[in-house]
């Protein structure tokens, strides 16, 4: 199949080269929306709409069809000047190829987790990895404190160290059922099942309406969306 396409491309290229029309250049990234739709919770038209969003974000600084960290921050925070351990962590989780940039596939797969219809297991997994700052397979008390302090600093909320420690104490009392000073994936999952509001930031309702927010005018969509 691939060879056929390659052959077709060459044929196109040579046929059109004299007219200087680059019709056969594939849009970088949206090569197989059906495959992505199969592997995520998105429908094909949602994938196409998501691609419109992707194009917008990825062309903000360098128009190369890829999202670099600066463009990622610009899109989310409207400024690329904000440094945050969380922002880095989120980008890293999107960047499954670990090459410092996001292609459309990585973008779509990560956002799929945030869809209201995504399986809760995916949300549990993503959030666990998010908070596992050192990627050790468990969340340490020290990491929790780091994250609490960072969040408080954001909005200028001032809490004494005593108060912060007592919040963390109570959290570990409830979450650390194995009493080993860390929260592993199992313990995280139980905690979150008891307190679903902890995953509130793992769902983006906007994703349900994405086809209306980012209409795409791709005419090859003869694929059934059911």
């Amino acid at each position: 199949m691939l060879q056929f396409l390659e052959g077709l491309k060459h044929l196109c290229a040579s046929a059109l080269s004299c007219c200087d029309i680059d019709l056969c250049k594939q849009p970088k990234g949206l090569e197989d929306p059906e495959a992505l739709a199969r592997e995520t919770v998105f429908s094909v038209s949602e994938i196409e709409a998501l691609y419109e969003l992707f194009k917008k974000i990825s062309s903000a600084v360098i128009d190369d069809g890829l999202i670099n960290k600066e463009e990622f921050q610009l899109a989310l925070f409207k400024t690329s000047k904000k440094e945050s351990l969380f922002a880095d962590r989120v980008f890293d989780l999107f960047d499954t190829k670990h090459n410092g940039i996001l292609g459309f596939e990585e973008f779509a797969r990560a956002l799929s987790v945030f869809h209201p219809h995504a399986p809760i297991d995916d949300k549990i997994e993503f959030s666990f990895q998010l908070y596992d700052l050192k990627q050790q397979g468990f969340i340490e008390r020290q990491e929790v404190k780091q994250m609490v302090v960072a969040t408080l600093a954001e909005s200028g909320m001032n809490l004494s160290d005593d108060v912060i420690e007592s919040i963390i104490d109570k959290t570990f009392e409830e979450a650390d059922t194995k009493h080993d000073g860390k929260i592993d994936k199992e313990e995280w999952r139980s905690l979150v099942m008891r307190h679903p509001s902890l995953l509130k930031n793992m769902t983006l309702q906007y994703l349900k309406d994405i086809t209306t927010t980012f209409p795409s005018f791709v005419f090859h969509s003869q694929v059934d969306d059911t």
């Binding site: 409207k78 989120v90 994250m147 109570k170 959290t171 905690l191 995953l199 769902t203 309702q205």
Partner: protein
């Protein structure tokens, strides 16, 4: 009028069986953490910064006092309030005869940090941001909150 009930229902499930009726949930460290603007990906879909849409502050008032004060202020400004359990309040635009009132819908949640301290989170679901800021200014004055 669109009320984002689905987002709401997830929060209602979180009410602890142990807590007293009407009192807000004792905050979990991860509840605080998930309030971080940096963990909020809604920025992909919104033109405004997260700080324009989500406001957090601490207060020494009891949660009951906080919620009634907030309710009082928003009602004065012509908004309707749908109360929920566990320290939550949904504020929506009143069916208005005064056309000057813009549309706005936001959620208020109050959490206990300690016996004497509360954290309040206001999250705008949609609406007029200048109206939201106006409301927030009035609220912070009335509650004596110092803002960044």
């Amino acid at each position: 009028m669109y009320i984002d009930d689905k987002a709401f229902s997830m929060q209602e499930m979180s009410s602890d069986a142990k807590q007293q009726p009407g009192s807000p949930s004792q905050i979990n460290a991860f509840e605080l953490i998930r309030m971080s603007s940096f963990l909020d990906l809604s920025g992909f879909f919104e033109k405004e910064e997260v700080q324009q849409r989500k406001i957090r502050f601490t207060s020494n008032y009891s949660s009951g006092d906080l919620l009634s004060k907030i309710e009082g202020i928003v009602k004065e400004m012509g908004f309707r309030v749908a109360k929920r359990n566990g320290g939550k309040l949904r504020v929506i635009q009143a069916h208005n005869k005064e056309k000057s009132l813009g549309s706005l819908s936001f959620l208020t949640e109050v959490f206990d940090i300690s016996s004497s301290l509360r954290v309040v989170e206001l999250s705008k679901s949609y609406g007029d941001s200048s109206l939201y800021r106006k409301l927030w200014t009035k609220l912070s004055n009335d509650l004596g909150v110092s803002t960044l």
